[in-house]
């Protein structure tokens, strides 16, 4: 199966995180990116990184911070951290 299936999120907590940080309540898919989320700007990106670090008790690197450009990217990073 394609891991980037448009309908299934491996990390359902992301829905709440996106609602919380970006006030984004539309359907979240792996393809959701800053293009879809109006408030996902470079500053709010920091809040997202920080929330991911806190929620999953992980520490993200500078590369991962850059790598994250969509919800699918977040899921890949989380998977790599063994979450």
């Amino acid at each position: 199966m394609d891991a980037r299936s448009p309908t299934v999120l491996s990390y359902p907590e992301l829905v709440a995180i996106f609602a919380d940080i970006f006030q984004y309540t539309d359907t979240l898919t792996a393809e959701t990116s800053p293009d879809d989320v109006a408030t996902w700007d470079s500053l709010q990106h920091i809040a997202l990184i920080r929330t991911l670090e806190m929620t999953y008790s992980i520490r993200l690197s500078m590369d991962e911070m850059m790598e994250i450009r969509s919800v699918g990217d977040i899921e890949n990073v989380l998977r790599r951290h063994g979450v």
Binding site: S10, D20, S42, L43, I46
Partner: protein
Amino acid sequence: MSARANALSMPVDDTAIEKLVDEAIAAAPDCLRRRIILPAIDWSEVSPSKVAVLLSTLAQSRLAVPRWLSKLLLLAGHALPEDVEPTLTPGLVALNRINCAGGASQQREALSGMLPGLCADEQLEGDVATILVQKFAALGWDAEAARLALAQQHRVPGILKRVGKALGAHIERLPNVRLRLTGSSTTQTLADEFKPAFAAKGWRADVMQADFGTMLADLMRPAEDADAHIVLLDLEGFAAQDWRRPAADAFALLTERANNLAAALREFSTRSQAPLLINTIPVPAAPTAGFLDRSHTMGLRRAVDLINRHILDTADQSNHIIVIDADQALADLPVREQSDSKLWYYGRIAYSADAARMLARAFADAWSVLKCGPAKVLAVDFDNTLWGGVYGDDGVEALACGEDFPGNAFRALQAECLRLRQQGLLLVALSKNNPDAITAFQRHAGMLLQPDDFAASAINWEPKPENIRRVAAELNLGLESFVFLDDSPHEREAMRRLCPEVSVPEMPADPAERPLWLRRLTSTWPLRLTAEDETRAALYAARREAQNAKAGAVNFEDYLNGLEQRLAVSLVSKKTLPRVVQMHQRTNQFNLTTLRSTEADISALIESEARGMALVGRVRDKFGDHGLVVTATVEITGTEAVVQSLLMSCRVIGREIERAFLGALIEELKRRGVTRVSGDYIATRKNAMVKDFYASCGWQPAGGDEARSGWVFNIGDMESPQSRFVALDWEA
């Protein structure tokens, strides 16, 4: 569908799991002893009736419910019987009350009594705080949820999210403060933290951020519509190092930058009357000149010291620049967690999220003290606060306060009270006792405070809230300038309930933690010390410098001379007997015979003046009182005397106190007609330091061996030992 989603959507065999839980509950006593299985169960999935079975199984085996299990059950929403509550933390007690009541309105009233304590509780566990806020919010108790979350947000990240929409409404209702924020790097993360940090202090922060990189310009042309200006300073953003320049040039440049900042601050204070709050630059996470970092011009720490000095000196000259000590504000965070390098490289954000939260709190604390003024009155309880024990029950002799453990912790709190008194706070005695309790300060030798240190007192059996109102009227001060210290949670709760204006901090239960805790209590921090304090301090400093100049190179004799030591010798009395006995039990190093005399032994000795005597000496020097530190017992037979014991506390060793004390002992024996004194040194594993004590005081050897040597002194024939560094007083 992915494999993972498939696994999740497969039905779980509930009956199998339930059987496992049932068996675990049946075997609860054994599981509990080994601390297995029970911690792994998700108790929120277990029915209340099964939890009841668990509790009764444990009760039948006479096993108390341990706190970890109580906590798991409470977090899962279960109610515990009331008799478990004494073992619980205040947060868990509150949770239990909520779980028991399920939101009854009278419960809300009862809990609002506990709320200020929970808000002020620096030990409230993060998960408990989070659940409490969540439950308050779910019950629709919005005010409680918002207050607790705001009060704890500096310790419990993420707790604000649990309040939900009510938080915004709560903050919206607070009086606003317009903050102009500028800094040497990105200020956005700090701006975000200002909302909750100021709301915790009762203010709605409206933050206006200056453009990036305009710090100095912003200071020199201050915005006029701000209630307060805030400057967030960091080293890298303010003065990045240029390693191509020779070190001397770079340092000259840094000095110029620091001068520019100081000039901008001065310019600000001539142009604006609004307060300006600026932080010092914290200790760098890593040095650039290694071992030389604090001394060499290439060192980051030296650069930090230089910049900070400029800020502090400028603030000293101005009456509205307040400096936040960043090292103090960030003290609970390891230095390498004070910044997050990827954030710096990403967006020139100098401080980590945790550090920004702590700095925001420090700025909000300072604003709050600035706005409301620092506390003016410290109202203190007596029993188990200023001394250990209960005056009315135990009697004055038994109160713990003095140089020794555990009384020294109480004495240290008294010292903190005196410190605050010197900084201009009034001390008020607020004690449930008979009025004569105030005399304990005079009658007990270990007390630092004296009755006249208190500007007012209410020592009676009336409720403390009534007393504090009366004292406030007497002193003509508002209750909002009072801070109330009491070890009793009940007294604190009563005070909060009946006098909500009074500041009632949660004093730690452990007396050992209280002195430092009181130092960290920001509501008592002075913003300025009065001119009088400053001149006095300056006077002392000048005198000290003059002394140092005169002394030149100070040798040990000069040091002893400068100590201004006084030894007050007296016969052991009923009052000093407990301390003398304690010294006999405890002293190992400076102890000639290590005779462990008991209270009865020494009492017998002091009751018959003809057959013996016991002496004790108190040492004071210019730095303070060391208390009763040296003692001896002597048996007398006609004109012969034998020193039975001679011992001294190690805190005054090596200052000739022992010499002066032995001289005093000989003088007293001479007065009683004794002509010859003898004494033994009995070796132990720890007292080698006094092997040659008698010899060094001019006594003659009188046989014996390594393990036990005898010494004699003929009064009249030989010169009595004395010390020119110790002034001797006899006390009745």
